[in-house]
Amino acid sequence: MTSVVTRPQPPSKPKERSSGKIPTLALVAPSVIVLILWMVVPLAMAIWFAFQRYNLLIPDNREFIGLGNFIFILTDPALWISIGTTLVLVASVLLITIGLGTLLAVLFNQDFPGQGIARVLAISPFFVMPTVSALIWKNMLMHPVNGLFAQITRGLGLGAIDWFTDFPLVSIIIIVSWEWLPFALLILLTAIQSLDTSQIEAARMDGAKPFALFRYVVLPHLSRAIAVVAMIETIFFLAIFGEIFVTTGGGPGLATTNLAYYIYLKALLEFDVGGASAGGLIAVVLANIVAIFLVRSVASNLDT
């Protein structure tokens, strides 16, 4: 297919048309324009506010302070800690969901009695609102006194694990993984189902062991679906907020404060519009760095 320079043209003469006459620009334009507005309007406002001392609660104190907000944010040790936390969180949940998701996809691709129902149960967590799942995990499962885990381990004479105090980030990772594992499972499962069974049979005939089969036949076939999962998940994991808000409130200390929560603290707890705008701009820059590294490597995987 030749690449296209676009010229809008009414599709009134269908028979003569070639790809060159399709109004591609006109087709892409609406999406791009609304997204540009969505990006640019708030962004412009954010840039405007970022150079001011502007707290919504102290409007009369508003003035231009140059780079003051950026200096205030960039010298805040909490910012750097929260960036580190964000990366750890994204990376570990990606690893868990894709790793386990692949294994489970292979498992649920097998025939076994009640497979359909089991699959439905396994993917259910994806439909649950993040705030609701965080509330369930916090109050009913991981609570060190009333939670089910604590009651079971105490019943076994093991004492209770104080999840949100001793392993705060691990707890968040568990909750988020639980929510997103089904998503990975779902997409990877569908990808596996599209795998040509004759190919597997052929490999098996050649005497391939199950592991080799998985490594050299199934996994390469899945690479594209894995890229899809990684991409979509990364976008959502960078913005994890509800789970942290409900469970640990970013703590103890800064143990679970990620970038999204950090900006929340600035924007909605302090109503420091100037500081939050500066923080938001820093986050945009960081997100784009991630986008360049991750998304590009993923996208090259998608092109074929």
Binding site: M1, M45, A118, M129, A299
Partner: protein
């Protein structure tokens, strides 16, 4: 011997599959069970599995909040936003996948990167815009926001589905003299329909569960189920059972919808299935 081995293997796989399914589903099951307990029972030690179920939590929840108003708003907003996103995305994805230019890839990546703008940081500007346009606490306002939030993913997914459609089919049609409209309506869309459907499902699920904008831009008229949940989480006093009941009510529609449509979802998400 061999068949025997295979059978026991299958048995083992079945056991493993069910075990995994039960573990993953357990938290939801536990919430469901808790919603039928009294508040005192919900925090009792040891946890109770066998008890006399009560409906009092559901009654109390319904008395305090008009569940159906919230649910109806959720339905309208998530479906509305999905339709709008599809209307914008299908043409864009069509153009990008069949007539790619040098800028196509970077446009796609740029679209995805818009999703990384932290929404909390722009709440105040958006709120002021909403006030100026009179869109605060309207379904239309929320539909617009969700359309914008989901658009990148929708474009991107439909783009990948279109990419799966073999070009030969379209070219063959073109030889037969099909118009662009005919080509899209009779060949492309039917082929990509499962993919579009599953994209729509994903968009509906994401809109249904979105809890930041829905809480901050609605008050009463347009408040969806996320606001409903926020009125039952962490009040003073014991609340676990009532919260469980409210949560069950809030996720039931989307859960059932998801169960029914998951076959569709699986079919549509099958990359490379369109042959």
């Amino acid at each position: 011997m061999k068949t025997n081995n295979k059978k026991s293997n299958q048995w083992l796989i079945g056991l493993l599959g069910w075990l995994v399914a039960c573990i993953l589903f357990f938290p939801i099951f536990w919430m469901f069970i808790t919603s039928f307990k009294t508040e005192a029972m919900a925090v009792a030690t040891p946890p109770q599995l066998f008890f006399k179920p009560t409906l009092e939590n559901y009654v109390a929840v319904q008395e305090r909040a008009a569940y159906f108003n919230f649910a109806w708003n959720s339905v309208i907003i998530s479906v509305g936003a999905t339709i709008l996103a599809l209307l914008l995305a299908v043409p864009a994805a069509y153009a990008m996948s069949f007539f790619p230019s040098k800028r196509t890839k970077s446009t796609l990546l740029w679209m995805l990167s818009t999703k990384m703008l932290p929404s909390v940081g722009v709440l105040v500007p958006i709120y002021i815009l909403g006030r100026e346009t009179g869109l605060l606490d309207t379904r239309i306002g929320l539909i617009i926001i969700y359309t914008l939030i989901n658009l990148p993913i929708v474009v991107w997914m439909i783009y990948s589905f279109f990419k799966e459609v073999p070009k030969e089919i379209l070219e063959a049609d073109r030889m037969d003299g099909a118009s662009t409209y005919q080509e899209v309506a009779y060949v492309l869309l039917p082929l990509a329909l499962p993919g579009i459907a599953s994209t729509a499902l994903l968009s509906i699920i994401l809109s249904w569960n979105e809890a930041f904008w829905s809480l901050n831009l609605t008050t009463f008229d347009a408040a969806p189920l996320t606001a409903f949940i926020a009125s039952f989480s962490s009040p003073q006093g014991l609340f676990w059972a009532k919260l469980s009941a409210a949560s069950t009510m809030a996720i039931a529609p989307i859960l059932i919808f998801g169960w029914i449509s998951q076959k569709q979802l699986v079919r549509g998400l099958t990359f490379g299935a369109v042959k």
